[in-house]
């Protein structure tokens, strides 16, 4: 899609205008929040890119966003809507934690790989039933995946409150995973770990899969015109099912990486809405894996930046949500003009 479009002066101009629009509305909001916009921007930039620690933190926070966005993108290639990333991510996280606190294979790498595979499998399982219902009964996957999120949230709440509760914590959470399952931090004083490279690796694999693999090509054709795909001998239902399973696995993997690389347990309110943020990122990125990385970076930088803004100014924490929303609104609107509509 993207490759076929050319860069022109008009587009460049529009892009500049877009950035200008976002920045000026942001400035207004920061000013309204009681701070001079220039200082505000300085804190946001310093907070997200200012030093190597902040920068690593920004990168680290991209991991779940990238994978949650990819979990929406892959099914979207075949025309399926996966709004269930949140639930799949939770299940995946639980899967990784379950393996992490109950089993041990002795070798750290084996442990980690097994836990991640289990997390992907759990996520996949949670995507499987909406996909199955869609394919067998044409049940709207928007409803089933959406409801799946709420069901998963309660299911996890039950599991971490009852059978798998950490008896030492007043909080509903699983026991901590064994240290041999932990993906270690790479730098002193930062949570940055190899999970980032796993996420980037997945994105590259997806990119190559879509552009270079026969099956990836079939995904695209199925999404573009399923009737045509069927007449061309593509097995449409299988393709759609597969894409949904891959999506679920990616979301599950996001949960698994969060547990092994960061939280080391699944607690209540484990996800602050990664699934929905992922959906937004995917939409802004045209389902394109590489663009997802770029947009996830923006989202993540904005988040780490606003923590910093809150630290040094009197601007309330809620501002990060407002800034984020403003960015999405403008990007989504300008996208139509800059790149043209998907529909042609």
């Amino acid at each position: 899609m993207i490759g076929t479009r050319t860069l022109s002066f008009r587009k460049l101009l529009l892009s500049l205008l877009l950035v200008l629009c976002i920045l000026s509305v942001w400035a207004l909001i920061i000013w309204f929040g009681g701070e001079s916009p220039f200082k505000g921007f300085r804190y946001i930039i310093e907070g997200s890119l200012g030093n190597h620690y902040q920068f690593l933190s920004t990168l680290n926070k991209m991991v779940p966003l990238i994978l949650a966005a990819a979990a929406v993108a892959v099914p979207a290639w075949t025309g399926m809507w996966n709004i269930g990333g949140e639930g799949q991510l939770l299940l995946g996280a639980f899967g990784a934690a379950l393996v992490g606190f109950s089993i041990d294979f002795g070798v750290g790498l084996v442990n980690i790989v097994v836990a991640l595979i289990v997390s992907a499998a759990f996520g996949m399982a949670w995507a499987a039933w909406p996909a199955f219902f869609k394919i067998k009964l044409r049940m709207d996957e928007v409803v089933t995946t959406l409801m799946g999120n709420y069901i998963a949230a309660q299911l996890i709440a039950y599991l971490i409150n009852n059978p798998f509760r950490d008896p030492r914590s007043p909080l509903a959470q699983t026991p901590y995973i064994k240290s041999s399952f932990v993906i270690p931090y790479l730098f002193e004083g930062s949570q940055f770990s190899a999970t980032f490279f796993v996420a980037i690796g997945m994105v590259l694999v997806l990119f190559i899969f879509r552009k270079r693999f026969i099956t990836g090509y079939e995904f695209d054709i199925t999404g573009s015109n399923p009737v045509f795909a069927g007449l061309s001998g593509i097995r449409v239902k299988k393709t759609k099912l597969l894409s949904m399973l891959i999506g679920g696995a990616l979301a599950g993997l996001a949960g698994g990486l969060l547990v092994l690389g960061m939280t080391q347990r699944v607690m209540q309110s484990f996800s602050p809405g990664y699934g929905f943020t992922g959906l937004l990122i995917c939409l802004l990125a045209f389902n394109d894996p590489l663009l997802i990385v770029g947009i996830a970076f923006l989202f993540s930088a904005l988040q780490t930046g606003s923590v910093n803004l809150q630290l040094f100014t009197s601007v309330p924490a809620e501002i990060s949500g407002v800034l984020q929303a403003v960015m999405v609104l403008f990007v989504a609107a300008f996208k139509t003009f800059i790149v043209g509509r998907r529909e042609g």
């Binding site: 929040g33 219902f133 009964l137 044409r138 049940m139 709207d140 928007v142 409803v143 089933t144 959406l146 409801m147 799946g148 709420y150 069901i151 309660q154 299911l155 709440a157 039950y158 409150n161 009852n162 929905f276 959906l279 937004l280 939409l283 802004l284 309330p316 809620e318 501002i319 990060s320 949500g321 407002v322 984020q324 929303a325 403003v326 999405v328 609104l329 989504a332 609107a333 996208k335 139509t336 509509r341």
Partner: protein
Amino acid sequence: MDIELITTLFRTSIRMATPILLASLGGALTYHAGIINVAMEGLMLISAFFSVVFSYLTGSAFYGIIAGVVASMLISLLYSVFVSFLKANNFAIGFAINILISSLTLFLMRVMFQGKNAFNSPDIASIMELKVKTGNYFLDNYLLNFSILTYLSIAIAFLLAYIIYKTSFGLRLRVCGEMPQALTAAGIKVGVIQLWASILCGGLCGLAGAQLSLYNVRMFSRDMTGGRGFVALAAILISGGKPKRVLFISLLFGLFDALSVKLQNEKIAPQFALMLPYIMSVVVLLLFHLKTRKQYGKA
């Protein structure tokens, strides 16, 4: 079963169903116009907020409702401008609006009510009930003494069924969702129809928010819509946007909500009871699909 228990369940169901019903009727309009509206959560929330603020300031629930409806309509207008005229993706804009309003209401609460996540006050006037005591148990408990918005919402369901299927606006609305090119070719602007649908949806979501914050409870608390906008979306998708079915499904959801409170005991963990409304919505959809499959044979 004991009559008192059924009455309790019934009254809770109706109260829980009303906001969902109002919102999903609104969403049904945009659904027919070809927009799956995920912003309903935010629309309800902004209305819940302004309803409370204005009810508190003016001491009148009526002005509260008006303020909530107006606020929700304005946001709807914004939504529609982005989606119908700037052709932005409706999911992206919808979720962005939800984030915006969730943060904005907190932000405003900090500014207006000194840093509270929740605001309540005896000065908040609540929405009137149709208060008549007839002495007849059935009438008093099953038909009377609900919020006037409950009665209104049921009337609106039938009104919308009429508007969508019988009037000229309804015809254009349906065409707009199914084949917008046909509308353009007939010289009617698609964006304008969608704009109207969105604004009406905003109005109804506004009523839903007001009902939630001025009747169900009389307060505002952060994210108090608690996913009801998405439940409403499910109701719309399950019912195909047909108002009478929306009515039916919303009442069903209200019942499941009531049951989820009631069913908890030593044997049933709260989580499983609380899962019920969501599982049932999938089950209802499933039953409906099995039914149609039987009717039309395998396609």
